[in-house]
Symmetry: C2
């Protein structure tokens, strides 16, 4: 597998994309806010969506269409189209219809996403104008524009593409995502779109997407707030001539799984690293837990603890907060057996502080990526979860979001 | 029932207290850090303690002694005596022994608490000197000094006393507490001590303490971090001549229950209001839920949401974040039936924003105490939970705590 330089969703032949400014985020901001991803061929699609019981009606439109042959995805930022009653469904449907009309396709071949403020009706006139413009702007190298147009408080565009071969046949996977606030498993104000050309059956792709989501996008948390709009969608135009992957035993399944995992983990970590106000990416690697679920719970308790997050922001090697978080994670642990490392430096051995390492660990905490390793010495399961520190800027961004 | 002006734990006849500076928090800070509460008579005691699986060994010493006749409680701030191995138990035990020696009582009649940084061995020489000094300083009006000495990052001392009569017999209840960070149910870096003179059986008092804790101290959250040291202890010297309360049917049980609830709710709300960096007390009142547990879950989701907390800090009427939190609370809700009020102002009706009230709600958000009422319209259960906003100062305090 190789990483494609400046790769994105349009690195896959047959996909075009665009991102335009439709003034959804306010007038003359110069910020792109309507994105379209278009496939020349019909695609097989799979998706995972928010588990929040209060969710945007865009999700209902996606669930209605996702098993159809898909030709396009439309997304806007600046307004979540959530908590606006039945009008939300009508507006989401209308978005697919405007796309269909402009691209001369059927509207049930279009998926739709929205992200932004909750509880405000979509400005449909501006949305419609934006869609018309985005359809006109579709480009073979438009992936980066689309990545830009789905951003809300993100500071960094999130693009990636990789390629590998199955029996000499070139397979490409491209992806874009946005995150920033309301990031927590199941899932987040997280939008992710992945394109590929692999020849694969829908049910296999859906299962793979779900399985890898549990190890990547569902392993990140910025602030524990699960959004109303999270959507992760993969489209394949099946242009590659590999033997159809219709079971796990077919050649190429494992290669594809590994490459897709790489793309999804990259995007998920990019979201955690670019969490609102974040100055550092934090990885918690929990090993030797009794079960995978236990390992995840311990990791999540650590990376979501405001006290751990502020300590990391302050570069304070306060491992006591880490062990306190382990203790309240609701997992049965043996305090007297817990080892904790920050980077390579052991800060706690068998539940007791390793004071002589305090200077070394302060050096570790200067880094941009902090890895906290916890050895529970109880079993053979492990998990990696990702988050970020909690800074003044998180408060600033969210105290001001609407004003 | 009447509230005693400047009331505290020593408002109950027969209790003395003290708080002294033993340099546990550093030299020459002038901050008190060792407290003793002493009862002239043997007391019946009850307690509730942290459910964190990593806990201070002081808790073990309390559990060992709590059913004995109790004469004293010793507490220090500045060091939690947690995550220091078996030495933690020996040191906690030693603290009770030094108290016993100085007050000429048996050491198994002494309870002990610690609060502060985790993972550092107690400076026993300073602790012992502090205990000697605190024993010498015991005073009939020393409750306020004790309230001072248990503070960590608290800004405000938390004292209260109330009195009422059972059949002409005066009953007094006094209380002090500390909180500030790591505040979350089950319980928090929360220490609370309550004194009373009521004639009551131990098992009845223990059950009452647990029952009311679930409605008060377990209904607050500052930052979701459950501490290793939380302890709430009640002592009664039984000086009042009311008929012994050995069942719920005895006269005075309900009066005592209501007064104790008042004291505990006052202390719990004081802790939430004085949460680290807090500028506002936030109450979430959830009504018409299917079950009490559902109501609590919804309330907790709201008051712990960093996005809700930062919006309140920013005085931003962003009710979308409230309904998103309701949605991810894991309670089955009907989005189309949810009403949300901020103060008396309806901001969301049947899941849709009430935009014309936006100006009025901005006025509500100027207040020091914000009440968020959620009507789920699903049943007859309700809950009140308390928290605070999330400000720059929370980050500042916790990024700097140890330095």
């Amino acid at each position: 597998m190789r990483i494609i330089e400046n790769g994105t969703i349009t690195s896959v032949d047959g996909f075009l994309a665009s991102g335009v400014d439709a003034n959804i985020k306010g007038k003359n901001t110069g910020k792109k806010d309507v994105a379209i991803i278009y496939s020349e061929d019909n695609c097989v699609a799979a998706g995972v969506f928010t588990l929040n019981k209060v969710r945007s009606k865009t999700i209902d439109v996606c669930l209605k269409n996702i098993k159809n042959p898909i030709k396009a995805i439309v997304a806007n930022s600046g307004n979540a189209n959530a908590c606006v009653g039945e009008k939300g469904y009508d507006d989401a449907l209308k978005m697919t219809e405007v796309v269909a009309e402009n691209l001369k396709i059927e509207s049930d071949k279009v998926l739709v996403s929205s992200t932004g403020v909750i509880g405000v009706i979509l400005p449909m006139d501006r949305i419609e104008n934006g869609i018309v413009k985005a359809c006109q702007n579709l480009k073979k190298d438009g992936g980066d524009d689309a990545a830009h147009a789905i951003m809300t408080t993100d500071l960094v565009k999130k693009n990636i593409a990789v390629q590998f071969e199955i029996n000499g046949e070139k397979i490409v996977i491209g992806g874009i995502a946005k995150g920033s606030g309301m990031i927590h498993p199941n899932m987040a104000t997280m939008l992710g779109y992945i394109t590929t050309n692999i020849n694969i059956e829908q049910s296999i792709m859906q299962n793979l997407l779900k399985e890898i989501t549990d190890k990547t996008f569902n392993m990140i948390s910025v602030d524990r707030d699960t959004s109303t709009n999270d959507s992760l969608i993969i489209l394949s135009n099946k242009r590659a001539k590999n033997r159809l992957i219709d079971s796990k035993e077919i050649e190429g399944y494992d290669l594809f799984k590994n490459a897709l995992h790489y793309v999804m983990e990259y995007l998920a970590k990019s979201i955690a690293k670019d969490g609102e106000g974040a100055t550092k990416l934090v990885e918690a690697y929990i090993k030797n837990a009794k079960t995978d679920e236990d390992a995840k719970k311990v990791g999540m308790a650590i990376i979501t603890s405001p006290l751990v997050k502020t300590a990391i922001f302050g570069k304070d090697p306060n491992w006591g907060r880490i062990i306190a978080a382990i203790g309240y994670s609701e997992v049965s642990v043996n305090e007297g057996a817990i080892d904790i490392f920050i980077g390579d430096v052991k800060v706690c051995e068998n539940g007791i502080g390793v004071l002589e390492n305090e200077v070394k660990v302060k050096e570790e905490l200067q880094k941009d990526e902090i890895i906290i390793t916890v050895d529970l010495k109880l079993g053979a399961s492990s998990a990696k979860v990702w988050g970020c520190d909690l800074s003044y800027d998180y408060v600033k961004i969210n105290a001001d979001y609407r004003s």
